[in-house]
């Protein structure tokens, strides 16, 4: 269905139909991109969805976290062990430059730093699930190795502005 210019138009209006035709094509492409963007957001490309959910496992210890997040939007790191108590969690200080730990449940007994890590020590009755609630304070990607009971967990996270 082609759109034609108007013949014998006596109205002094710049009815640039050629430009309109190009604009409509760009507009339709824009609409498609908009819906693709929305679908990606629903699926969790910017956090909170299946594209973002990650689960790592070492032995019987699992770590659940989100691959993608948004600046200053709270996220959670869940550590779970089926059989043993989680005694220590070591987080690289470089990771803590990007994420602010707002709460840890249950709370650690002590905290210490050494070798570029912050070590959180939990009581022997600490349980088998530990949740770290973190807020991203930098808009960047982070690649870090966290250790749970000395087991390494390599995580990569990207924080959108």
């Amino acid at each position: 269905m082609s759109v034609s210019p108007i013949k014998n138009q006596d109205l002094p209006v710049e009815d640039d139909i050629a430009l309109h035709r190009k604009g409509w094509v760009v507009q339709r492409i824009g609409w498609v991109l908009m819906y693709v963007f929305l679908l990606a957001a629903i699926l969790g490309l910017f956090g909170e969805g299946p594209l973002s959910d990650r689960k790592l496992q070492h032995g019987d210890v699992t770590m659940q976290f989100e691959r993608f997040g948004r600046y200053e939007h709270a996220m959670m790191l869940r550590l779970q062990s089926k059989t043993q108590n989680i005694a220590t969690v070591s987080v690289p200080q470089a990771y803590l430059k990007v994420f602010r730990v707002s709460k840890i449940v249950p709370e650690p007994q002590t905290q210490s730093t050494s070798g570029g890590y912050v070590h959180y020590l939990f009581s022997s009755e600490g349980g088998t699930i530990i949740n770290f609630y973190v807020d991203p304070v930098q808009r960047q990607s982070v690649d870090a190795v966290l250790r749970v009971n000395a087991l390494p967990f390599h995580i990569t996270q990207t924080i959108f502005p």
């Binding site: 269905m1 082609s2 759109v3 034609s4 108007i6 138009q9 109205l11 209006v13 710049e14 009815d15 640039d16 139909i17 430009l19 309109h20 604009g23 409509w24 760009v26 507009q27 824009g30 609409w31 908009m34 200053e72 808009r139 502005p161």
Partner: protein
């Protein structure tokens, strides 16, 4: 993020998305359209201000938005094609009483919209009384009636 970048990014994004949505999205034709615009303004405000409620940030943001506006105005004056692309051009949608269906379909305007504009502006009753109806750059519809002699 620096408030200047925040304000500039939001300004450019809104310009692009409203351009993609089409001219009619800017005109408050229905209650729902008005609602959407009101919600967008609220979301935009939160995104620009973030948690920074300082007077300084507010002054920076207002200055950024007005500067962006001025910059675009100057660019539009210098480059006419830029103005046409960013703001669009008027489009005739009724010609001598006849609705130009293809153009109206492409711009999501129907005869009811044209008749509404004709009634509101000039009290016209029928499309046959409209010499030209023009979809303006801002999404409004201008009506030019036939000369009554």
């Amino acid at each position: 993020m620096n408030p200047v970048f925040r304000g500039a990014v939001i300004y450019v994004f809104l310009l692009l998305i409203f351009r993609i949505m089409g001219k009619r999205s800017l005109s408050e034709t229905t209650t729902f359209d008005l609602l959407v615009l009101l919600i967008i303004s609220e979301v935009t405000q939160q995104a620009m201000v973030d948690t920074d409620n300082s007077l300084t940030a507010a002054i920076i943001l207002i200055t950024t938005l007005l500067s962006m506006d001025l910059l675009f105005t100057l660019i539009k004056k210098t480059f006419k094609m830029f103005e046409k692309v960013v703001e669009g051009t008027p489009l005739i949608i009724v010609d001598h009483g006849k609705a130009l269906k293809e153009r109206m379909n492409k711009t999501n305007v129907d005869e009811k919209d044209v008749l509404q504009a004709a009634r509101a502006a000039l009290g016209l009753e029928k499309l046959e009384e409209v010499k030209y109806a023009v979809l303006e750059k801002d999404g409004s519809i201008s009506i030019i009636p036939f000369d009554k002699k």
